[in-house]
Symmetry: D2
Subunit: 340 residues, 4 copies
């Protein structure tokens, strides 16, 4: 059975998903797209003669031949389209953030709970990265004992001009928040933000940052974000346990020896680093739909949890204070899930 | 356009390809299978209700709804099925070896030349591995200067009971022969085989081996094969040039620190190590067919070249002598190709 | 010219230094020892028939044939012996801490300033470690741009029974404080301490810790200390600059591949990890004395700076507050020094 | 007790040893030197007012205040000076080669056997390198099973103008011959040499080479030598056993991330790479002398064994043939030794 997918938003990541579903993955067909810029939407499906360009997201969601929807539009529009999908009873894959405030995420949660079964998957692709999966396997195996500390680094070589300082949290560190929460299978309870002096690259930002989180059981998590590492897209992490540690390894394919040294490459950007994770993530989504399982990956609850942590960290950044928070218990709809 | 594929041979690799085309890759559908064991063939398509089980390869090749064929049967049958595809004018992806003798490969070559355009792709998947591709990029960039030496290691943790000593060459080292020829863009002119004392694991074999090849320009290539490394499937290589070297890096995703040391994993087998290469290889084949390009990857000529080198190495193993050989010029059909 | 050295304190590190001067390094002879336990002192020089066992440190310092003194006794006694050396005008190598309070360090400083030239070297051996030196070379070369962040980890496999929670700072992190100050050539201005939940190994401690320091120019430094890593003595660090980073590499000599993976060793303890640094440090001290240069390495001022940072961090640990402090300007005696 | 050492030959390595004994190691004093160029000899001890410059090696060996001798002169003179030391009953440390022909080595052997106890240590410093020692520990532990293959690489960045093609064997690979023989605790029985096309750097040489040796038990050893790696001094090796492998790790102290990649340094030359091995080697020699043990490290027999293997490899290089040889049994004087 081929899953017929509509894509809302044909910016960079939306187009990537159109190409991925059409040319890389099995079992899906892009039958509909829409974008705030209809020319852009049409261009995204120029090679897909059967795909329809809809005037807006609402029309796309309601189109009878659309089995499932990918929301890859501008963050502030996510809530509207995800709620439309829930109203239509259609599975939806929503790029992060699920919504731009925890209140909006909460409305989505409530709507999904009212539906009574999961329809929403949030695009935390790191959970599908082979290295993070291997890391989780080690943590859950008990080989390093109970986790005590997590170090995470998230360095972008540069950022676009519309990037503002809070985006170090809402756009970048939110991935670290989700992956650490998933690795530890625990929620956060506090956040604070430490800022060193600013890099001369991007002085209009507060860059880099060291974000400190604490989990319910007391695990201490530090997340270094850099918007201007210059040298590459460098994601790293280490979980320190009572009996040992596990760290992400380097990802370079070859080592070159010349001119006095050896050298390897750091990924140039997130698309290069996580291309496989995106493939696996979306294939898993398609497979689950084809099997009639509904959404199985990162849930609305995970999106909400990330939003709550992000909001706290943004507040901590702005006030310089440690912000404490409690996620509260998850609705039963989400506690039955494996979290994978 | 969906490419309708028939698969001849539903052993381990044939089944992998059925699953890959059905569940992992885009643009193809398995519509037909056949196997020497019809029950096995039927089991391979149990989840594909539209797929037909044919009584034999000839019938499958001739089936009107089969656009293209994958030959994954026992090596000695390859020649017959590939020739049948050529006779039917259908594209064929043939697992290595193309055929079990250089004479049989030559017959395939002649038949394809008579057709007048490429229809055959040979399953040298390493050419699609990201690490080998990065290695080739370095070599062709000139960064390490002209190649002088190549070291290659090809270690299997263990081998099945039907594995005989010549298979260290015809089954294992043949991959190294092809990838080195591709990396250097050169043909071999001699082969010799050196054997250390035998491993106590598998004493009925001559294991391990050190195979020495020389290319037309004088590059010296050593290939270590082990059928019983015990510790894992370990493929490595280094090209030594006049100004530097390039080597494959380790592939482990995480590093664990515990009990006095750090550690990472070695792949357990070739499927784990090269799963992505197989995916990329077959997707490229499907894409080329969908684009009407015919075969674009490793050609019959590459399969023939590997067979000639293998035959020479087997002769060297049996006689203890250095065996010299010349491939001769490639038919024009193959020299127009990029060879990827 | 052979430098005649007296050693005060023949515990583990004192004995190491006796052996090092006698059997490993050039240009020195141990002519005198003393210890709170005279039997222990005598045992330390059992192989050195010419060495005299003095009844106490004062007698050793005043002995006419003692050219220079090593203070390796219990920390609380350091001040007395270093002051005695200054009074006697004799060069003294004092193991860290220089003294157990910043006030005591200040008294030593004042005494040395009154002497008018440097006589004191403090045992911050990391400054002589080849890896830290290579790191400093990279930082000062400008290759990574201006430093913004420093991550440091200092993990002990286990600690002796007398180890109390403040020693994570005064005994362990003090090395990180000094090396980071040396790497950055900057002083600290604040300290805070974050504690995750405790490891089950050593629950009477607050272990591990994450200590956060800030330098005068705003570089943010995090130091992870673990008293119970279990797996080994693991010291690591990374300086993050505006244009790149530099990190300590692993130190393992060989990689073993067996049983499904590859593995290397982590040093078992600080003596194994820093044996060369101790050798180089003490040889440099002896060489400087032989050349009539007086003390050249880490100075009383460095010892004072470390004490001030340690005191602040201990206060931060006890109060949970961020503690701000200012070192003030160094006496001229120390600003002429390169600080190595 | 200070060992009074005379040094014959004050070229680069001779001067290094003078400095090492005077400034780095414990327990020795350089009291005499000689060189074919007396000005050079005098310069080597300019900072050692008590050292005497002798007119020739014979005079130095016979000087009553010379307890032991280091022979670091031009290879063809080694035999004469070592025999002189044996005649004088004085311990001698001889840089490799022990002598420039196996016949000359044999004469030294015979003379030492006539003396009745070991007096000669040969300068195979790799045996004192911590990485090779760790490698030997792994091999002898049985962790990788019985050795089957050894891969060794020995790359020099460049060579001096007097370097001729045989020196790839007699000057470079001879170190690999000795270290492999020591690692395996076995003798070689055959040698052959394979030459790829020549590097454009140094076309008057046959460079690089792949030297193939076989041991008595059938272990196959390949040694790659390069006189013009250009990129650095790169020594590597792997022992492949029945159950696993052990390889030398990289030696770089720090990893730098910038400009799209990560990088580390390769040693610039053999002095940088093996400086510690030289220190440990010579300290061990001095310690053994001080303890009255005579020579304990690599023996005349080891020097002879290396010469026999070198001679065979040179013959193989010149003739293109595989050269077989037998070392024969060692005199009892050498079989009592540990080989260290």
């Amino acid at each position: 059975m081929t899953v017929r997918v509509g894509v809302v938003g044909t910016g960079m990541i939306g187009r990537d998903h159109v190409l991925r579903l059409s040319n890389v993955l099995a079992g899906a067909e892009v039958v509909a797209v829409t974008d705030v810029d209809p020319v852009n939407a049409a261009a995204a499906v120029a090679d897909l003669p059967r795909a329809v360009v809809h005037p807006d997201g609402q029309a796309l969601v309601e189109a009878p031949d659309v089995d499932a929807v990918i929301v890859a539009s501008w963050g502030p529009t996510h809530e509207e389209y995800v709620l439309a999908c829930l109203a239509a009873g259609k599975p939806v894959f929503c790029e992060k953030p699920l919504a731009t405030s925890q209140e909006a995420c909460r409305r989505i949660l409530d709507a999904e709970v009212a539906v009574g079964h999961r329809l929403v998957q949030v695009g935390f692709m790191r959970r599908y990265d082979p290295a993070y999966r291997a890391m989780k396997d080690v943590v859950t195996s008990g080989a390093i004992g109970a986790p005590l500390l997590v170090h995470s680094r998230h360095r972008n070589p540069s950022v676009p001009s519309h990037y503002v300082r809070e985006m170090a949290i809402t756009d970048s560190a939110v991935h670290d928040f989700d992956i650490v929460r998933w690795l530890l299978d625990e929620d956060f309870v506090s956040a604070s933000v430490l800022a060193p002096r600013r890099s001369r690259h991007g002085t209009d930002l507060q860059d880099p940052l060291l974000i400190i989180l604490r989990t319910d059981s007391g695990v201490l998590v530090d997340v270094e974000t850099s918007a201007n590492s210059r040298y590459g897209y460098d994601v790293g992490g280490e979980v320190v346990g009572e009996d040992g540690t596990v760290a992400l390894a380097d990802t370079n394919p070859v080592v070159v020896r010349r001119e006095g040294g050896f050298a390897g490459a750091v990924p140039a950007g997130w698309r290069e680093r996580f291309v496989r994770a995106y493939d696996v993530e979306l294939q898993a989504w398609v497979d689950a739909l084809a099997a009639g399982l509904g959404a199985t990956g990162p849930s609305s609850w995970d999106g909400y949890a990330a939003a709550v942590a992000s909001d706290a960290a943004v507040q901590a950044l702005r006030t310089g204070e440690t912000v404490e928070f409690r996620l509260g218990p998850a609705p039963a709809l989400y506690t039955d899930e494996s979290g994978r």
